[in-house]
């Protein structure tokens, strides 16, 4: 038996659980987050997504640019950050043209769009959580998010939830 084979056979058993830390609000990284999450949930994984900082844009009720948040600066940030519908591509964004092109290409090539992936995540009852600290900085409240967001968490609770499974940072 080879070393790799031995290591694979004797590794500690993990439960079928995937926890994703969604830090990025970029279109392409959100596609990666939701593709992984829905794929895992479909094959029986318990899936948690912890949205923090820019990632919180993905779960805002208002998907376009809106003055969301408490106070002048958070409202201004909220407007420039926007929601799921105004997420930029991490490279070659071309002033917001690229996400439009990507959405067009995804529909044309019969690949699930970001919005379809989010709907699938809801249908598969993936656990969506928002980061308390980032919400505090950005002046956001739970009511600013879609109702599928299960709870507002801190790091300690997220670590407890993700224990025994795999965790990825996107």
């Amino acid at each position: 038996m080879g070393i790799t084979e031995f290591a694979l056979k004797n590794q500690p058993k993990e439960t079928k659980k995937l926890s994703l830390i969604c830090f990025s609000g970029d279109f392409d990284k959100l596609v990666a987050t939701f593709t992984l999450a829905t794929g895992a949930a479909a094959v029986g994984y318990e899936v948690n997504i912890f949205f923090t900082f820019w990632g919180l844009d993905a779960i805002k009720k208002k998907q376009g640019r809106a003055f969301v948040g408490k106070g002048f600066l958070p409202k201004l940030f909220g407007f420039f950050m926007g929601g799921l519908g105004s997420s930029p591509v991490s490279r070659l964004n071309f002033c917001g043209l690229s996400p439009i092109i990507f959405r067009y290409l995804m529909r044309k090539r019969n690949v699930a769009t970001l919005e379809e992936l989010v709907e699938a995540a809801k249908a598969l009852e993936i656990n969506l959580y928002a980061c308390e600290m980032a919400m505090h900085i950005l002046g956001l409240e739970k009511t600013d998010f879609i109702h599928e967001v299960k709870d507002v968490l801190g790091v300690a609770t997220f670590l407890e939830l993700s224990e025994g499974g795999r965790t990825m940072f996107i």
């Binding site: 829905t38 949930a41 699930a112 699938a120 249908a123 598969l124």
Partner: protein, 60 residues
């Protein structure tokens, strides 16, 4: 994503109901029947329809 869509449709059916999935050749054609079996569904048929289109019948 193909299996994600399949799984969501299966969740809407009653036990015993049959779902017909039409797939073109490629990875999903391997993945959908395999994942369906792994998830405890009964794959009744994988057949060629025409061109590169295949039919998978899955019973909940």
């Amino acid at each position: 994503m193909t299996f994600v869509k399949t799984k969501i449709q299966l969740s809407k059916l009653k036990p015993g109901d049959i779902l017909e999935v039409l797939l073109t050749e490629g990875e999903p054609l391997q993945n959908v029947p395999r994942s369906s079996r792994e998830q405890g569904f009964n794959v009744l048929e994988v057949s060629h329809v025409q061109g590169n289109v295949h039919r998978v019948l899955i019973q909940k």
